[in-house]
Amino acid sequence: LPTDFDWREQGAVTPVKNQGMCGSCWSFSATGALEGAHFLATKELVSLSEQQLVDCDHECDPAQANSCDSGCSGGLMNNAFEYALKAGGLMKEEDYPYTGRDHSVCNFDKSKIAASVSNFSVVSADEDQIAANLIKHGPLAIAINAMWMQTYIGGVSCPYVCSKSQDHGVLLVGFGESGYAPIRLKEKPYWIIKNSWGKMWGEHGYYKICRGRHNICGMDTMVSTVAAVQITPQ
């Protein structure tokens, strides 16, 4: 494993987006992972539609009651991948723009699918396996507890105590060996996480959290990777 890796440098990550006042983080995490997978499959970076997931994805996990994706009221990234697999794929952001409101009619247009899921899987809660899958399959959809993120401005977050009960969906795009710690207590290896609260939050929309503290804030136990269909050029 390298000490540093960042999919942003490979051009596999779209600009930071903003979910607005809508509990749709799960859709941003899912589109971010599929955008990365599509880039790996086609070398084309396309911004995909979260609004299609908000309006059209009501996929449930049959084994868990009340787990259905419900727009601004919350969802799960694996349900979103299942939906995209069944629906045939996701449209481009520009063809189905984000409004941050739900209860709108589904305006999915199958003829405008921009990226399709071929399969998705869950990654074991081992940080080396997470790093290896990140490198091999592209950015990963992860869940995390966001308690410390409300006041986060920058640096490498490594709280002494953090709930492992996940309440936020984000995108893991890279990792680094030693992050800038403003108080320079100790250089810390860190994960690089793309959030969906706009560029004015955190480090230009990104969050850094320390690596090596197993399952800090619950970030290791709901990690998914998705593979995109290789679209053969006509």
Binding site: L1, Q19, M21, C22, G23, S24, C25, W26, D61, P62, A63, Q64, S67, S73, G74, G75, L76, N79, F120, S121, V122, V123, S124, D128, Q129, A132, A143, A146, M147, W148, Q150, T151, Y152, I153, G154, V156, S157, C158, P159, Y160, V161, S165, Q166, D167, H168, G169, G179, A181, P182, I183, L185, K188, W197, G198, K199, W201, H204, T221, M222, S224
Partner: protein, 119 residues
């Protein structure tokens, strides 16, 4: 008594981050009001009524204290004022997160094969 002009540059390139220094009590109120002024300007916040404004200021003060505490408990990060500083933790969770809570990964989802991580 001299006049102080506060230039508010809330732009992204503004290197001055709104972090929360240690202060004595009466200065804290003044400091909180100054921070709140900067906050409203930077994030273009407006409130419908004076009551709402005053309530949001109290929430903001509580979040300043939380940011200070978070800074002590999470020293390798920088904690301070963000666009969510006028929201209670509950409002923040309800409006800006969105992961369905209390669910584990679906049992029928494929496990990614174990990848080599050495050599």
């Amino acid at each position: 008594g001299e006049e102080v002009t506060v230039v508010v540059d809330g732009g992204l390139d503004n290197p001055i981050r709104q972090v929360v220094p240690e202060l004595k009590n009466d200065e804290q109120i003044l400091n909180a009001e100054l921070h709140f002024t900067l906050f409203k300007s930077k994030y273009e916040k407006t409130y419908a009524t004076q009551e709402e404004h005053d309530y949001r200021f109290r929430v903001f003060e509580a979040n300043l204290r939380r940011a200070k505490r978070n800074q002590l408990l999470d020293p390798s990060a920088v904690h301070g004022v963000t666009q969510f500083s006028d929201l209670t933790p509950k409002e923040f969770r309800r409006s800006y997160l969105g992961l369905k809570r209390g669910f584990r990964l679906p049992t029928d989802t494929k496990e990614a094969p174990i990848l080599p991580t050495s050599e």
